[in-house]
Each structure stands twice: as structure tokens, then as C-alpha cells.
Amino acid sequence: MKQSASKSYDAIIVGGGHNGLVCAAYLARAGRKVLVLEKRHLVGGAAVSEEIFPGFTYSVCSYVVSLLRPWIIRDLNLVEHGYQTIPLECSFSPYPDGRSLCRWSDADETRREISRFSTRDAEIYGTYGATMARLAAFAKPIIDSPAPQPASLDPRELLQLFRLGKNLRDLPADLLEQELGLMTMSAVDFLDAWFESDQLKAPMACSGIIGTFQGVRSPGTAYVLLHHYMGEIDGAFRSWGFARGGTGGVSNAIASSAQAFGAEIRTSAGVDRMLVANGKCGGVVLDSGEEIRARTVISGVDPRLTFMGLVGSEHLPDEFVKELTRFRYRGSSGKVNLALDRLPEFACRPGSSAHLRGDIAIAPSIDYLERAYDEAKYGKFSRRPYLNVVIPSLVDSTIAPPGKHVMSCFVQYAPYDLEGGAERWPEQREAFGDTVIDTLEEYIPDLREIILHRQVLTPWDLEQEFGLTEGNIFHGELSLEQLAFLRPVSGWAHYKTPINNLWMCASGTHPGGGIMGAPGALAAKAMLKSGAL
């Protein structure tokens, strides 16, 4: 067995996803000697840009950014390291009857669009946005600090709980009603209380289900609506954006920052297992057999891969293993990336492209979305899925040849547990891709003629290629019972694990998935504060 005896590290981070990189950067910034190990040939995890087809750069998995915490951008000087976002200008939804709705960043324009469906909804839309923004401001401290521990007797924890309670109490009555509703209702029930138009509610409700195995009518989906109002790009609320050069641009900026602080990054360095003895972790063994030791090992991969895959359940307490097996993944989405010969034209808005410079939701009605979910519950991918489509090449000329375009389609529902077993996905892959194209063709009649290349990623592929257990893009479902102090396991929600010197820093911990960077940063801070490093 080879051994790299020459160096000793304070910390090894397993997995170079955006959270692993954020964690590495914070630790390096604090003067610690850090090594990031990434299995693939490039860093970024699910936040990567790759030239899959010559001349075309796909944001292979994750495709829009907004939640990356502003304090992380500042702390890590990410702008200097090339982090740049281009705001989405609108949200566009075509309907089968030839009508369409586009919500613009311009409020008056949006009101005019909505009033074609409902004047009442058009009038109230602005108030809704303002209300949600106020509620988001209330929720933000929660994603910017470690999860409160209701069972703890530590006075600081109690104080934090008290503060949360007080914040809640200080909300005006009407906001309080909305806040409680958000925590307990379905996205549709919540929106029903505001709006009457199905065409408006359907695309809005979608933000409650992205990446979950829930339907828009499932209770508990309303709170995710807030995420849309929590996004900050350069401090501007409610904006989602593209990263220049594709989503990998975010990861590259963080990696560059980490390296500038002195962190070392090795790619094509897959970890085979962690070195655990007597309840302590002392390093890792690479796929190559190379052994690397460190004072601390930090997992940037999901909980199941960490503990069942790299640690081994024999090193863990039974109760912990039991709780881990109960932690649910159930990936529900796939991705289809297209290289296009020219800009696609939606039949409902011919001759213009302004409405394509944001995101496009194929979510024509609440019933459509709910039926898409119903099929997935019984192990079938949706015959007519919900699609969230972007054409980032319209605003970023670096990712496609002139005149050509990249179209990225997020597809839901694609249940990991396909009828007959998840391993049937490879044989279903092309049929799944065809379903997506068929769905889009109903709105873009000549789509097939302009496709130069297509890449189809099923939940199975997300697991095999990107190490996302069961294809879950958030490292575990973001359902209420898997959030905050319950993520991933009650009693182990503060980035520590039952193995000494082994920590967690990725989306399987509080506050969860999305390109927030918060788990990585909060984990680094917790480690430094506890004196573990």
C-alpha cells in the first residue's frame, strides 16, 4: 500500500461539490491545511459545466443559482474569483390552448400579462410578492445559522429558540397566518387563498415541488414557495440567475478562492473508504489504494454514501444506522440537455425571444401537475412531466457557438424506484428523453428538427455519475421531517457524526440542498468553533 507520508493535513474533504469547496475555503482561510478529494475529473459535483458536445457547454445538473448566501460570496471574495451571475429576466409559461403567461421583472408588464387571465389576480400579485418577501426575511436567519436544537438544555440553544418564538410572535397577525400556513399547507392550498387563475397558480406552485417526491397538493410543499423570495443576487431579492459559463462557474470560483487561501484540490481522486478504528476517523484510502491521513475528515457527499458506503455500518451505533436507513432520498427528477441548431420558437409567441431569457415552465394546470405526480407514485415516469426549461445561451455567449443554443430541461417526475427496479432506468433512458421532447413539441412544433445533440440524465445516472443517492438532487428529501434539527438524524444535525474526527458539510445537513453553500460554511464554522481543528 502506498502512503503519502510527505504531507499531513488538518482536514480532508471528501467530495468537491460546491459545499465541500466552501467548507475547504473557510477552513483554509482560517489557516488550516486542507485537501479536497474529488472523484471526477473536475470539481463542482452537481454544479458543473461540461462541454458534452463540441462547442456546447451544458450546466449538466444544477442550472440556475440564487440562494448562494451573500455573506459567503463576500467572505470568500468570489467575485474576484470569477463568480458572475446574469439575472433571469422573466418566467414564461405556455398553455395548450395557445395562450401564454410571462411574468417579467417589470411589475406593470407582469400585471398586464396576468390580467388576461384574471384582473383580480393581477391586482393582488404585487401584494403577494411583498408579503412573501417579508416572510422570507423572517425565515432567512434560519438558513444562515445552525439548526436550533429543541431538546438541548444549553442556555444558548434555549435563547435561540426563544428568539425564534419571539420573532414569530412579533409578526403582524396577517403575516402570522401566512407563516403558519406556509409551514403546514400544500402549495396549491396556499395559493388558492390568494389567486383564482389556474394558469397563474400552476407555474407558481411548481417551486414548491422541485426536487421533492411530493405533488403540488401535498401538505408541506407550501414553505418551499418562500425559496423563490429568498434568492439574492447582488443583494437583490427574488432574482434567480445564470452563472456565467454555466453553473460550473460557481464551483470554479469557489475552488479558486479555496486554492488562493491555500487549500489543495485533487481531482480524479475517488475515495474508496474512510480509515476508521476505535470510533475514530484518521484519514481515507483512495480507489488507487493510496492512503492519506488527516486530523479530521469531512464528508461532502450525502449521508448514505458517507456512512454506508465509506465508513461502514459496523463502525456505527445501531440506533444511528436505523435512523439513517429511515432517511429518505427518493429522487424524483431527471435532466435533458439539448444542443440546438437555432433558437426554438414557441408557437404561442412567434417572432420574439424576449420571453425566453428567463425560465420556462411547462406546467399548464394544477391537475396536469398532480397527475404527473400520481403516475410517479406507482413507479412510472410522468407521461406528461413538469418541465423547467432554460436557454442560457441567449444571455451567455460563452456556452454555445454563435446562433446556436443550449437548452436545459429539468424534468419531474422521474421516480428513482421505477416499476421493476431502479436498474431498469438505462433501458428506459431514451424513452424518457423522448417523452420530454414530445412534451416540448406540443409547444415548439419544429423542436426535433433543430436538435443537434441530446443528453438524458435519469435519477439512476445522477446516482451512478454524480454519487447522488437514489438520484436525489438535495442529498435527501427536503420534507419537513428531514429538515433543521432532524437533518439527517436527530441529535446529529450540527455537522458532527458518531465517529470522532468525522464531520459532514453537504446538503444532507442543515439547511439542505440548492446552491446555498450554507451547509459547507456552517460546518466549517462549527468545526473551528468547537476546536476540532
Binding site: A173, L176, T184, R217, P219, D374, E481, G491
Partner: protein
């Protein structure tokens, strides 16, 4: 000496009766106004075919809290709690099925044979859940705290259940907080192996809710029913009605039956009087309405407070329940259990089947295989059917109020047929002994029992319509925004099948603030 202050109670259901007794106990002179000719509300005894009766659409009394019986002195009026909950038979086509005592620790009979590992799992589950009871008791038996404009005392009151809760210890707390928002399907598949047990328990998480076993919140309802239920009383819902009615009369409560309320007359944001359909007006400065929330607001005449009115309009009450009554010329015999007599049965198969049935419901479609909640009151009481005959009440929980195309006679007949064929597959003698039947679609229930949206609970159960949100944050304190007009029906906390609790707490609240 001045005359006793008066109070009016709308509705002589269990909540109305409980409220009336409490008000009378405090010295008020109370009149109950009831639209029908007898008390009981949704539990009133009805003769659906000459000689055959059912206790309305209320199958059990497991929700009756001991506190209600004690504080209203119901024991003196013949009310007796059972030693253990009545058995519910859960049959299965290709096996012996289960016999469960809902909410009790007792191991379901047949479980050990069906799934040996589940015996241990059941015991562990009941043991792990036991500490939650005391927390639930504290929450259920009192008014939810007022969150708006809360002062320090309210905050402390709010903190108390939280502190009790913390005393359970980190492990138990973690388990409970994790279980509460889960869906029944996940909660149960984490716990039990037997599909039939899972289906039975899941049905307890979706009853009275617009939920399937895969909907979040169904786990909380399941836990609520499993832990906050009592043993029920001898004689069932009709015996409870009788005791409450007798107690009310003894307390001096006056009853006006066949009295339909036409309007609640308001003046200066106060209740002034209640006008009946026959134009009689009854003045009172205190009215407790045990009607639905929407119905109560619809009756208001005068300046209605805007915030509360809008909140009332938003209360969700999408009925999904239909009632089928069957008159049989012989006792109902279950296949393979011909010699046994059951008062209750629940026909379920798997959680997937329950989910598919809910798919139909939420898409406003008729369901060909609904799950059935069966009560056979004649099994234990002789006055519900002629000697040797049976009266059967079936509640069907997959019947959407707003069925596509409406509840036509064809649709109702199809529902009856679906119920008969499902029941037939588990019984020996159903069709041969069928004398008569009655079917009530949710739209019928809305009329017969004056239910908002045809919903037996007057407001859906679900995480967003419980406790401080039952039926809405702005209404959860039993107040309507109109001084002296208080809500006390099943739509209010704790509501649902907690017979009489809402009425009692509403009356206490009214007395403490008036």
C-alpha cells in the same frame, strides 16, 4: 334580585349540549335552538327504514374525553365508559384478518400469525408513543393559546406544553417531531411489515381529511387518533346523546326543537338577537353557535367583521364522505368468522389501494374500490333493528363532494353498488338478507346534517387546520369578531370526533371573557 342572564346555543349536537350544560351550570338561563325534532346532531338516531335505525353518521365515541364526562357529571345520567375500546374487525380476502382495539395498547389479534416480527414492533411502537399522551392531553383539553397580540402570560402558557414536551428527553422528542409532519405511509412502513395493519392504521390517518396515506399530515392524524382516543362509552353515540340531553334538562336548559335559525342579528359589533324562521326573535348577549363556521357567518345580519369573515370563507371543508345504510333480515356474518359478532369493521386492503382511491377523490372522480368504515349498531343494541335483523351503517370516505358531473341518481346507485360488492366479498349473507338501503351522497349529508361542504367535521382535519390554526388563526379562539357570538362546533379546536370538547371549551371561554 335580577333575572338570570340568558344565553342561546345553536344546535343540539354533542358540542351544543355540552356548551349548554356548562352555561347553565354557571347560572345562565340557556335555550338551545335545534333545527330537527330531536337532539344529537350528526349522531342523532335515525330510522332509515321502518324498524331500522342508525346513530347518524357518527360511528364511535372514542373521541369522548374523560374530562368532558366528568365536568358535565354525565355518570349520573347513565353514561359508562367501556373497559376497553370495542373491537374492530379488519377482514382480508385470503386470510384471517385482524381484530383491533383502536387506540389501545393491546396487540391486534391475528397480527402475530400474519407477521411475527410485528408483535415486537407493535409493543415497541406503543411504548415509544406513550409519552406523547400527556403532551396531547394538555393540548386537547384547553383552548389554543392566542398568538396575536400575545402578552407575557400567553407566551408562558404557550411555553408550557413545550416544556412538558422537553421533559420527554431528546430521543423521544426527536422521534415525535420527526413523526408529526410525516405521511402515514412512510411512518408505518418504517414500523410494520404487515400490509393489512399498515392499511388499517393509514385509514385512521386520512379519515376526515383531504389526504391520502402519502400526504404529509396523515401521520399526525394517525398519532392523534391512536393516542388521544378513549375507550368509548357503552351504548355508543346514541347513549352519549341521551346522557348529555338528560344532563342538560336536569341543569334547566330549555330546548326549542324544529327551530331553524334565519339570522344572527348584529349591532355595533355585538350580537343582539337570533331570528328564527317563523320570525320570532330571541334576544341575548351571548350566543354559542355550534353550526359550521361558514354557515354561522352566512347567517350574520349587520356589519360583519371583515378579517374574520374572510378567514371563515377560507376554511377548507371539502367533504369526501358518503353514508350508506343497509337493512338486513339477518345478522351480518363475515366470511370465516360466521360465529362471531362484530359491532365495527373496517374494509381496507393496502396503503397503495388507499392512495389510489384518494387519487380518484382529489380528481373529483367516482371510486370503484372505496375503503369502508362499517358500524353495526344492532349488534349490541336491540332497539336498532327488529329481533334477529341487522342495521348497518357504512361510511364511504372516497366520495368527493364536488364529483365531476354532480351526484346524479346514477352516481349514487353506482356508489351503493360499489359498497355492496366490496362488502359482499367479505360476508356470507349480504345480498340474500338485504331488505332495504339508503344512500346519502356528500351533497345529501350537507343538507341533512347542515354540514359546510358536506364535511362531517365541518372543517377538514390536517396540519394546517388543527390547534392554533383550527379552523384558522383568526378564529381559533372561538371568537367571531362579534362580541357575544362564540363558535363552539366541530370545526373548532379540538373538534372533529372529540365529542363535546369544543362546545365545553367554547362555553368556558365565553364565560371567562363575558
Amino acid at each position: 334580585m335580577s333575572a338570570a342572564k340568558s344565553a342561546l346555543v345553536l344546535g343540539a349536537g354533542h358540542n351544543g349540549l355540552a356548551a349548554a350544560i356548562r352555561l347553565a351550570q354557571s347560572g345562565r338561563s340557556v335555550t338551545v335552538l335545534e333545527r330537527c325534532s330531536q337532539p344529537g346532531g350528526v349522531a342523532r338516531v335515525e330510522e332509515f327504514h321502518p324498524g331500522y335505525r342508525v346513530p347518524g353518521i357518527q360511528h364511535g365515541t372514542l373521541g369522548l374525553r374523560r374530562r368532558v364526562a366528568v365536568e358535565l357529571g354525565l355518570a349520573s345520567f347513565g353514561l359508562r365508559f367501556l373497559e376497553e375500546p370495542a373491537a374492530v374487525f379488519v377482514p382480508q380476502l385470503d386470510g384471517a384478518g385482524l381484530v383491533v382495539r383502536p387506540g389501545a395498547d393491546a396487540l391486534p389479534l391475528g397480527l402475530a400469525e400474519r407477521a411475527p416480527d410485528d408483535e415486537r414492533a407493535w409493543k415497541d411502537w406503543r411504548r415509544e408513543l406513550a409519552p406523547i399522551r400527556s403532551v396531547l392531553d394538555a393540548l386537547i383539553d384547553q383552548a389554543p393559546p392566542q398568538l396575536e397580540d400575545a402578552g407575557l402570560p400567553t407566551l408562558l402558557k404557550l411555553a408550557r406544553p413545550g416544556l412538558n414536551f422537553r421533559r420527554l428527553g431528546a430521543d423521544a422528542m426527536g422521534r415525535i417531531l420527526r413523526a408529526a409532519p410525516m405521511c402515514a405511509e412512510d411512518l408505518l412502513s418504517d414500523t410494520f411489515g404487515d400490509p393489512l395493519l399498515r392499511a388499517y392504521l393509514a385509514s385512521r390517518g386520512i379519515e376526515g381529511a383531504f389526504l391520502g396515506p402519502r400526504s404529509a399530515g396523515s401521520g399526525a392524524l394517525l398519532l392523534l387518533r391512536e393516542l388521544a382516543g378513549g375507550n368509548g362509552v357503552a351504548g355508543g353515540a346514541s347513549a352519549l346523546t341521551k346522557a348529555l340531553f338528560a344532563a342538560a334538562q336536569a341543569a334547566g336548559v330549555e330546548f326549542k326543537f324544529d327551530a331553524t335559525v334565519d339570522a344572527l342579528v348584529l349591532k355595533d359589533r355585538r350580537i343582539q338577537s337570533v331570528r328564527l324562521r317563523d320570525d320570532r326573535g330571541l334576544d341575548s348577549d351571548l350566543v354559542i353557535s355550534c353550526l359550521g363556521v361558514r354557515s354561522t357567518f352566512a347567517l350574520m345580519e349587520g356589519v360583519v367583521p371583515d378579517r374574520e369573515r374572510r378567514a371563515a370563507e377560507r376554511v377548507r371543508a371539502r367533504g369526501t364522505t358518503a353514508a350508506i345504510r343497509l337493512a338486513l333480515s339477518a345478522p351480518l356474518r363475515f366470511r370465516g368468522r360466521e360465529t362471531e359478532t362484530f359491532e365495527f369493521a373496517r374494509i381496507v386492503d393496502t396503503t397503495v389501494e388507499l392512495e389510489r382511491a384518494f387519487d380518484n377523490t382529489k380528481h373529483r372522480e367516482a371510486c370503484s374500490a372505496p375503503w369502508l368504515d362499517v358500524a353495526i349498531p344492532s349488534a349490541t343494541r336491540s332497539d336498532f333493528a327488529p329481533d334477529g335483523h341487522a342495521a348497518v351503517s357504512v361510511l364511504v370516505h372516497n366520495a368527493p363532494f364536488n364529483l365531476d358531473g354532480g351526484w346524479t341518481e346514477e352516481q349514487k346507485s353506482a356508489l351503493l353498488e360499489a359498497v355492496l360488492s366490496r362488502l359482499e366479498s367479505h360476508t356470507e349473507n349480504l345480498r340474500s338478507s338485504l331488505v332495504a338501503s339508503q344512500h346519502l351522497a356528500p351533497t345529501d349529508l350537507a343538507e341533512v346534517y347542515e354540514l359546510d361542504g358536506g364535511h362531517p367535521m365541518q372543517a377538514e382535519l390536517g396540519l394546517d387546520q388543527l390547534w392554533i390554526q383550527r379552523p384558522s388563526v383568526h378564529l381559533a379562539r372561538y371568537e367571531t369578531g362579534v362580541a357575544g357570538l362564540i363558535l363552539g362546533g366541530r370545526a373548532m379546536h379540538p373538534g372533529g370526533e372529540f365529542s363535546g370538547s369544543s362546545g365545553l371549551i367554547a362555553a368556558d371561554y365565553a364565560l371567562s371573557t363575558s
